[in-house]
């Protein structure tokens, strides 16, 4: 436990974590996550958090603004890694908290917690840059395979990263999935991590040729069948940090402020009280400052070039 405290301190300072330390953390995390159900039961009060995407400083703000893991229960809806510059630190911090406070933090798998996606969208590159080899990336990917697919709060609120699946009408069907694998290209597990709500009449094919979009009817059906009142999901960027749809039957929570360091959006977390009341906390991106106190906006490719 002493070791985890030390790692947490280092992570918060953005300091280097040795490959051996990551390995041992990931092993412990796998052992712990292995025992969890596909859909974890969580009691109120609890704070639901959306995509993080490697924005460590903003993750620290999130904990600061919402009470901190010492006092508050959390559900993270996935997409801890990719895009931001601190995917590893963000993910390891969450893993450390999970090991230290197993009943106070629930980690759900997002579509970015896969080998294939992290190879393209930044996490793999980050590890190569920081360690010069891909071992740490492999250790983390093995943890990804053990993350839960969803959570249920007080039997009233269903939490998932993406959305619904036509193959899943009851939450029990999710419990029957063999989740300990790389996310497949199709099927219930894939849909739960990928699908999006839209204003469509019924299940329909995404124009991309793979994946589903679902509408109010599917949401109402799912809520009714499972006797729940809300689906809380993440997966889509929202300027205001959260967006309720379908008469409040579904909410998108987004927790990466100023996404990709240039979108200018705010972030939100959703606290569910004992009486199931919803309270949103909004927060801004950390403002880095230069030597004379001016705010710095890190933008990609801001340097001028003689393009032709």
């Amino acid at each position: 436990m002493m070791k985890i405290d030390r790692t947490i301190t280092l992570l918060k300072q953005g300091k280097h974590i040795t490959e051996e330390a990551v390995y041992s953390l990931c092993l412990k995390a796998q052992e712990l996550l292995m025992t969890e159900a596909n859909v974890t039961h969580v009691d109120t009060p609890v704070t639901i958090c959306g995509d993080i995407h490697g924005q460590l400083h903003d993750l620290l703000t999130l904990f600061g603004k919402s009470g901190g893991v010492e006092k508050t229960r959390y559900i993270f809806l996935g997409d801890f890694v990719d895009r931001g510059f601190y995917s590893l630190e963000s993910f390891l911090l969450l893993i450390c908290y999970k090991l230290k406070y197993p009943d106070r933090i629930t980690l759900i798998r997002g579509n970015h917690e896969t080998r294939q996606i992290t190879k393209v969208y930044g996490f793999y590159d980050e590890i190569m840059r920081k360690y010069g080899n891909s071992n740490v990336w492999r250790y983390c990917c093995e943890v990804f395979d053990y993350l839960s697919l969803g959570a249920i709060i007080n039997n009233n609120i269903f939490c998932v990263h993406g959305g619904l699946s036509p193959d899943v009408s009851t939450i029990d069907e999710i419990r029957a999935i063999d989740r300990k694998q790389e996310v497949p290209h199709e099927g219930a597990m894939c849909d739960l991590l990928w699908s999006d709500p839209d204003d469509v009449e019924k299940w329909s094919l995404s124009p991309r040729g793979a994946g589903f979009v679902f509408g109010q009817n599917e949401v109402n059906q799912f809520l009714h069948t499972n006797n729940v009142e809300l689906i809380a999901r993440a997966h889509q960027l929202v300027m205001e940090g959260y967006k309720e749809m379908f008469d409040g039957g579904l909410v998108t929570v987004w927790s990466a402020p100023n996404y990709c360091y240039r979108c200018g959006n705010v972030a939100a977390v959703l606290r569910i009280e004992d009486d199931l009341q919803r309270n949103y906390t909004i927060f801004d991106a950390v403002q880095p400052q230069d030597g004379v106190g001016n705010a710095i906006i890190p933008t990609k490719k801001s340097q001028m070039d003689y393009f032709l």
Binding site: F85, M128, M239, T299
Partner: protein, 378 residues
């Protein structure tokens, strides 16, 4: 990514230490340097140094010009006091030294009768988005994930009241509202497995109506491919028009000269990760020198394992001659054919090149080119 020697000079007061090798630090440094158009590597020690008279430019600043490289007399004017000229070289400081979050930057400058301006704002908020979804872009199924709908770059001739601008809404209005025919790489496998499942469940009436759910309800070009070539603006927008002359080429010699860049801005108009099956992005950038400017609007599409597409639209203006040229180039090719051209197999990430639109444009077959010119002679 190259390590800079002077990274060590930068220390953030308080806050969180970052890992030395981190890209954030380098991006940060680049941003700092971008604000010092002289290309200096030193950090400004005081904000007051930005406040120099706007219409004058010192030729005898601390960064003394060498005899071999004479700086021409300044003739440009910075129109927005938030984006003043650099005390050393006169270049417009973008982003504004007083940039804040959410970022709004609106620099502008003038040379002769030409005014160049640009604007950067965050992505659309819910209200704006709703308006676009239900009115402006009705029929376009799902809008791109990131829409910088208030961004633009505009080049305006104030004397002839004619200009051209690149904005997000007009670009998205050109996205086709019909099926593009393009499918993600795993589409067939995905559909086949669903059909298989449907057959297996044929007797099971409790399942959902798979046959219907495998139809696309909203048909639109989900790749957001746009052949946008800019929007002509101004009172005389209909009076003057471009004349096509495909024998013309942009004067690469003039544009290759390392003339001092007085104004540089770059922005994304929209971007979508195509549900992590690639990227679709429209990016615009401009550089203004003392005698001419070049603007490049680039639509870049990568559908992983399927397709690469680059649509370029360039605007070139020669200020003293009042000549405007527009060049359109379209590139398109099969993903795997182009990937095969990338020989750096020892790279840990051979697909990195396919994320670089410059590399892709260089290695993808050109499928269309057009060049046109406009002078203000009626």
């Amino acid at each position: 990514m190259s390590e800079r020697q002077d990274n060590k000079k930068f220390t953030r007061p308080g806050g969180i230490n970052t890992i030395q090798v981190d890209a954030a630090r380098q991006v940060h440094m680049r941003t700092m340097q971008a604000r010092i158009p002289g290309g200096g590597s030193t950090t400004q020690s005081s904000t007051s140094r930005y406040k120099v008279p706007q219409t004058t430019m010192s030729n005898s600043g601390p960064r003394t010009p060498t005899a071999s490289r004479m700086i021409p007399p300044a003739r440009h004017i910075c129109n927005n006091p938030n984006n003043p000229p650099c005390a050393n070289c006169g270049g417009v400081i973008i982003p504004s030294p007083k940039a804040f979050l959410p970022l709004e930057d609106r620099p502008s400058m003038s040379i002769n009768n030409w005014t160049i301006s640009s604007k950067k704002r965050p992505i659309l908020n819910a209200e704006e988005l709703h308006n676009w979804e239900t009115k402006e872009l009705r029929g376009l199924g799902a809008l791109p994930e990131m829409i910088f709908g208030n961004n633009f770059i505009r080049v305006m001739n104030t004397e002839h009241k004619w200009g051209i601008e690149y904005n997000t809404l007009d670009a998205l209005k050109m996205v086709a509202l019909s099926d593009s025919g393009i499918r993600v790489a795993h589409s067939k496998a995905w559909l086949d497995s669903k059909l298989q499942q449907q057959q297996n469940n044929a007797e099971d009436s409790s399942g959902i109506d798979m046959e219907n759910s495998l139809k696309i309800v909203k048909n639109y070009d989900w790749t957001y491919s746009t052949e946008y070539e800019g929007t002509v603006v101004g009172d005389n927008k209909d009076k003057y028009s471009f004349k096509v002359d495909n024998n013309l080429t942009l004067p690469v010699d003039k544009l290759s000269k390392q003339d001092k860049i007085l104004y540089f801005d770059e922005m994304v108009l929209f971007e979508d990760e195509l549900a992590d099956c690639g990227v679709s992005m429209l990016n615009v950038k401009i550089r203004v020198m003392n005698e001419r400017l070049l603007l490049l609007s680039r639509f870049f599409l990568r559908v992983d394992d399927v397709l690469l597409r680059v649509y370029d639209s360039r605007i070139y203006v020669e200020f003293d001659d009042n000549i405007v040229m527009r060049e359109i180039k379209k590139y398109e090719g099969n993903y795997n054919d182009i990937l095969a051209k990338h020989h750096i197999s020892h790279s840990h990430d051979p697909k990195a090149a396919l994320r670089d639109s410059n590399w892709v444009a260089e290695h993808t077959p050109i499928i269309d080119r057009r060049c046109e010119v406009m002078t203000f002679n009626d």
